[in-house]
């Protein structure tokens, strides 16, 4: 993407029907450190790479608990992610207060998407520069959604966003058909393997990654460092290859699963990344 005369503000269309500012916001997501999500019938696992600006500082928080049954991992401008998490928490609390039941995940992502869309149609605002992987459980089962800065959202069996996420996506594309019936432990194992793919040679330890789980009978929580390290050691995945696949998956465009809302395969450096 190069600079052009139609990219100064978000309320200017290009002659080809594109909003460049929104596309630039999606670029910000691609620059952030990787975040991965996978789901089975009963659990959702979110994982992300920890990036610290220097050895002296602590790493950025990229996984947020939104409610007992929903959590989110982000890639991109983490400050935008923090603010959106606060919005999501408030929505969950208010829904719980009024209806005395947990907010269905599908409703939350629509509200989030509508909020993002507003910023694509106001001259005095800018789009949020963060992609969110929303994982949660409700009456209709386990769900994983991806919300973009464009205001679109998609439901997934498994997905990865951020820098070097294509490596993780390739791994997930091979394995995703087994995820629905996967056990909790295997799901976490697959998350760690996928995460390792994005590290491209760097050592996978509990200090370079964060894992969070939500499932049936299990509230959303971030696994503590010791648990993660022992899982890594147990799976002995530092340097080892992931287990062989049972079912070979014909190479398709993506791992998107058709759902009730507007869906589509996640396009890569497509002509119109916002379109469905």
């Amino acid at each position: 993407m190069f600079r052009n005369q139609y990219d100064t503000d978000v309320t200017t269309w290009s002659p080809a029907g594109r909003l460049f500012q929104v596309e630039y916001a999606m670029e910000a997501v691609k620059q952030g450190s990787a975040a991965i999500g996978l789901r089975s019938k009963t659990h959702v696992v979110l994982a992300c790479v920890n990036k610290a600006s220097s050895e002296l500082s602590s790493h950025q928080k990229k996984i947020f608990k939104v409610d007992d049954h929903i959590g989110v991992s982000i890639a991109g401008l983490t400050a935008d992610g923090r603010v959106l998490s606060r919005y999501m928490r408030n929505e969950c609390i208010n829904y719980s207060y009024t209806y005395e039941s947990p907010l269905p995940v599908g409703r939350l992502v629509v509200q989030l998407a509508d909020k993002a869309q507003v910023c694509t149609q106001r001259s005095w605002k800018r789009p949020y520069g963060v992609g969110l992987l929303v994982g949660g459980l409700d009456e209709s089962g386990a769900h994983l959604y991806y919300n973009c800065p464009s205001g679109n959202y998609f439901e997934y069996q498994a997905f990865a966003i951020g820098s070097r996420s294509q490596a993780a996506k390739t791994y997930l594309e091979r394995k995703f058909e087994g995820f629905t019936e996967s056990s909790r432990e295997n799901l976490i194992k697959d998350a760690l393997f996928a995460l390792r793919e994005t590290l491209q040679g760097e050592k996978l330890t509990s200090s370079t990654c964060t894992i969070a789980v939500v499932g049936v009978g299990e509230a959303f929580h971030i696994l503590d460092q010791e648990t993660v390290q022992s899982l890594i050691n147990e799976f002995e995945i530092v340097g080892e290859e992931p287990p062989a696949d049972e079912a070979t998956v014909p190479d398709q465009g993506g791992v998107a699963e058709p759902g009730p809302a507007d869906q589509g395969t996640p396009t890569d450096q497509g002509v119109t990344p916002m379109d469905v």
Partner: protein, 229 residues
């Protein structure tokens, strides 16, 4: 011509009594389960005790619709600060009882000019694990005490507790102890005695007694049948 007075009141009193006693490493919170209006009984099995956080329980008598609304508002306000707290500090720590006490006070005063008709007793463990009891009026004035009673039977129970618990009594100035030296089982027996006596004289107290005991090993409930007349 005299001024027209309102003959509709937004409030009602559903009766009932609440008691809480703080010990060295436990807290006992008790309330009867009778809900009434006027001279009628609405329910013989309605709980007035609500858990606000890990280590905080609230028992409230008065107008139960306002009590229920207050419980919901507190639960939501606790969640707002709890979730941002775990964001900042990454500990799964809930609000301490003294912090919850301040939150309850602020929530009540927020409605200073249309109060919650709720008379509350907050009980729990402080950050050192010692029992704590806070007692409130309808608009949020509160104080940490060693024991307290609120509701229709409070006038019968409070003098009895002053006599039996002696040392934490606020009538001895300065109070000798912040908590009662009684053991957990002695405190529970005392509470049962209080309610058995109060049910004899107070028509709004009776049916069943719900006792919640909070200590280091967690939370426990006991029930006792009371007079049903």
């Amino acid at each position: 011509m005299t001024k027209q007075q309102a003959n509709w009141s937004p409030y009602d009193n559903n009766g009932g009594t609440c008691v809480a006693i703080a010990g060295a490493d436990y807290c006992v919170i008790a309330a009867d389960t009778r809900m009434s209006t006027g001279y009628s009984i609405l329910s013989r099995d309605y709980s007035k005790i609500f858990q606000l956080a890990d280590k905080s329980l609230m028992a409230s008598s008065g107008f139960q619709a306002d009590v229920r609304a207050l419980q919901k508002v507190l639960a939501a306000r606790h969640l707002v600060s709890y979730l941002s707290f775990i964001y900042q500090h990454q500990h799964n720590k809930q609000m301490s009882c003294p912090a919850m006490a301040q939150l309850l006070s602020n929530t009540l005063y927020y409605k200073r000019f249309f109060p919650y008709y709720a008379f509350n007793v907050l009980g729990g463990l402080d950050s050192e694990g010692k029992g704590c009891v806070f007692t409130y009026d309808a608009v949020g004035s509160y104080e940490r005490v060693g024991y307290s009673s609120q509701g229709s039977g409070a006038t019968l129970i409070t003098p009895f507790l002053d006599n039996q618990l002696k040392s934490p009594s606020p009538l001895l100035l300065p109070a000798k102890d912040a908590v009662t030296p009684l053991s957990e089982s002695e405190a529970i027996d005392l509470v049962k005695t209080c309610f058995a006596s109060a049910s004899e004289r107070d028509i709004y107290t009776g049916d069943k007694l719900e006792i919640v005991i909070l200590n280091a090993s967690g939370i426990r409930r006991e029930y006792l049948e009371l007079r049903k007349d």
